[in-house]
């Protein structure tokens, strides 16, 4: 009997979708292993989020309300999470496999001599009670099963959309404030400002259920207006191939692929994208793949569940029209 810690990734005071998905996963893991689920919230906003965390499975909520969690680079969060481990006696952590959270996990793993597995697409409790994590390597061409060596803390980074988020109606978690003191090193690298870009109404491609992606076939920057129009109609995020981000048509942050983001939405709709191996590396775990491309030989059709061979500038506007009509 112990606690399973879940580091809540949040954007200001909103938990990200992946955090609620992790809590749901943690709840079933904890039921299998006889543990309880404790969320960890670093930075202001824990109070407001407590109810949502509780209803998704958090029985306890460790929180550190300090602005310092976000005002300096990584290290305050590492110190606070370390305090959470010491307070709880836990040996297992689930964290979101996002850019900045991986740094927190890597640094704490060195301090606690833990093992880390990132980007897990499935996590189960093995026969020996230790966690078993599934992940994809080589751009999704191969699937591996891993675990952390006996006797070591297990840190598992969970990929977005690996689990459904389930509101199971749990009550408010018990709140436990963390007592964190920072040394000079922890406040040596300062966050001077935060630049937010893009529409806040559009979901992040990493956790969006639907992603609309555009490539070189769009021909120019304004092609992305068409992509955004389709996306907004169906509540999707907008992604791009490297050919499109390289051309400066859309920011790099939205690049899907080997050197961009890995996404696994329920539905991916790619237009004017050939489906190069480096692009597939970031999207082939999507549950449903739709491709619109004028070249019937484009490799993206090999992994498409539904493909339209045609000019995207004919097909996409018509699709928008059809979908608008059906929505009434």
């Amino acid at each position: 009997m112990g606690e399973l810690l879940v580091l809540i990734d949040h954007s200001e005071s909103e938990p990200r979708k992946v955090s609620l998905q992790m809590l749901s996963a943690a709840k079933s893991l904890a039921e299998a292993s006889g543990d309880t689920v404790a969320a960890v919230w670093l930075g202001p906003g824990a109070d407001a989020a407590a109810a949502a965390l509780g209803s998704h499975g958090a029985q306890k909520l460790y929180h550190w309300d300090s602005e310092d969690a976000l005002g300096y680079v990584t290290l305050p969060q590492v110190s606070a999470l370390q305090v959470a481990f010491e307070t709880s006696g836990a040996d297992t952590l689930l964290f979101a496999s996002g850019n900045h959270t991986k740094d927190v996990a890597a640094r704490l793993a060195i301090r606690l001599d833990a093992g880390v597995i990132t980007d897990a697409t499935d996590v189960e409790v093995g026969d020996d009670g230790r966690l078993v994590a599934t992940k994809e390597v080589f751009g999704g061409e191969m699937i591996t099963t891993s675990k952390i060596a006996d006797g070591k803390h297990q840190f598992i980074g969970v990929a977005a959309n690996a689990f459904p988020a389930e509101d199971t109606g749990g009550g408010a978690p018990e709140l436990v404030a963390l007592d964190v003191t920072l040394d000079d090193a922890a406040t040596a690298s300062k966050v001077v400002s935060v630049e937010k870009q893009g529409s806040s109404d559009r979901p992040d491609i990493g956790e969006a259920a639907v992603v609309v992606a555009g490539g070189r076939g769009l021909g120019n920057e304004s092609g992305f207006e068409l992509m955004e129009q389709l996306a907004d109609l169906i509540g999707a995020g907008v992604g791009a191939s490297r050919a499109a981000t390289d051309a400066g048509w859309y920011p790099h942050r939205y690049q899907v692929g080997q050197t961009g983001r890995t996404i696994s939405p329920t539905l991916y709709i790619g237009s004017g994208i050939s489906g190069a191996i480096q692009h597939r590396a970031g999207m082939q775990t999507s549950q449903n793949i739709v491709a619109i491309n004028k070249d019937a030989e484009a490799p993206i059709f090999q992994i498409a569940d539904f493909g339209v061979v045609g000019d995207l500038y004919k097909v996409v506007p018509k699709l928008i029209e059809e979908l608008e009509a059906r929505k009434g």
């Binding site: 740094d103 591996t144 690298s189 790099h252 339209v308 045609g310 000019d311």
Partner: protein, 261 residues
């Protein structure tokens, strides 16, 4: 200013990869290996510091003797010297074990800045840069899409899901770069020729103050014990448009049938 650039040898993404069932490492014989493409952005950034601030740049690789061409490749961009850590005891290390070796190899050099790629194209853990910084007790300004150095101060734009953070620190520091940061040059013919005679030191773990309890397959904390190919996908429905966009109707029907709309 002294800059170190750790680079990794990875299997070519376009090549077929196999995992050796005996030691569960990538079967290097079966696939063409290359300098990790993400490291090209780190090399380019280092070259800019060399050109603008007269930085001296050393490339560092942890990997077997057969990976030496990758060090030479990195040198061909115009870097000054190479260090390679070769030791059978490193084989099978996990990301944190590799970080331990890299950190101690870095500690044996003098440096103001270490420039990593944010990830490697094969493992893609992204753990190594922050783990190295932790072992060395340094700041890690990772996922840099922009970096600037002014005296002993460094400013980095750290990319994240919603944009980027502007962060500041003093040197020495560790950074990792994303591909948005620059446009890598190609090695020149002169660079390729010069790379052959640039100094390259080979070290073993005995030369470094490595904590061997983290290193090697026996000490890997993350253990991969099963692997399989991705199951092939069922062929989907492909429709041909007649040039009018009418095929969109079938796509819309499919989306409705699948309950996406």
């Amino acid at each position: 200013m002294k800059v170190l650039v750790p680079v990794k040898r990875v299997p070519d993404t376009a090549g077929e990869k196999k995992i050796d069932p005996n030691d569960r490492t990538v079967d290097r014989e079966s696939v063409e290996s290359v300098l990790c493409p993400v490291n090209e952005f780190a090399i380019e950034e280092a070259m800019r510091l060399k050109e603008q601030q007269d930085a001296e740049v050393t490339v560092l690789l942890v990997g077997p003797e057969s990976a030496q061409p990758v060090v030479r490749k990195a040198l061909s961009y115009g870097l000054d010297a190479g260090v390679q850590v070769v030791d059978d005891a490193v084989v099978g290390s996990d990301a944190l074990g590799t970080a331990e070796v890299l950190a101690k190899a870095l500690a044996a050099e003098e440096f103001d800045l270490v420039i990593f790629g944010n990830q490697s194209t094969d493992a893609r853990t992204c753990l190594v840069p922050a783990a190295v910084a932790e072992i060395l007790g340094l700041p890690a300004l990772t996922y840099a899409r922009h970096l600037e150095i002014d005296g002993d101060q460094i400013t980095v734009h750290r990319e994240h899901e919603e944009g980027w953070d502007v962060v500041e620190s003093s040197l020495p520091a560790v950074v990792s770069v994303v591909e948005a940061i620059n446009e890598p040059r190609y090695p020149s013919f002169k660079g390729i020729m010069a790379a052959k005679s640039k100094p390259l030191e080979v070290r073993s773990l005995d030369d470094l103050d490595v904590d061997t309890s983290r290193v090697g397959s026996d000490n890997a904390a993350a253990i991969m014990y099963e692997f399989r190919d991705r199951p092939p996908k069922e062929p989907g429905t492909i429709v041909e448009d007649d040039g009018s966009g009418a095929a969109a109707t079938q796509l819309a029907d499919w989306l409705v049938e699948k309950k996406f709309v």
